[in-house]
Symmetry: C2
Subunit: 84 residues, 2 copies
């Protein structure tokens, strides 16, 4: 059974987000003056073959992926959600 | 009233996603052999001052932002959701 998992990786509170800040500036310059802040995030949608047919195992595995490759624990927080 | 809107920008079906493909390869090399596919997406969380206190107006405005700056209509699809 294939399970689809969405991993959202965002910067920790206090870490500068130049992409978000510059997007905000650009939006303001384009006339969207009511934009207060923009935060940028990265999302990966991962399709995994799940032999066990148990959601919790997949979540644990994706957490390992985040720790080993997808996220940098110094600056990133991540959220894992099983889509289907 | 400040409204938070999340914009998810992903590549259209058929558009090559090198970041996703390489992430998949790297995960397989790390031993996660049950990963079938990885798709990369970009998310912006935008805080907007909403004078009208109507959700629909904000959504329309964020759609304009997508058209003018955030997304490239040739290769991107986007999804707008009001968070709070």
């Amino acid at each position: 059974m294939t399970v689809e998992v969405e991993v959202t990786i965002k910067l920790k509170r206090g870490v500068t987000d130049p992409e978000g800040e510059n997007t905000k500036k650009a939006l303001n310059l384009l006339g969207f003056n009511n934009v207060h802040s923009v935060k940028s995030m990265k999302t990966f949608r991962i399709a995994i073959e799940d032999a066990e047919e148990e959601g919790s195992d997949v979540k644990y595995e994706v957490e390992e992926m985040c720790k080993k490759l997808l996220a940098n624990p110094v600056i990133h927080d991540y959220k894992i959600s099983v889509v289907k």
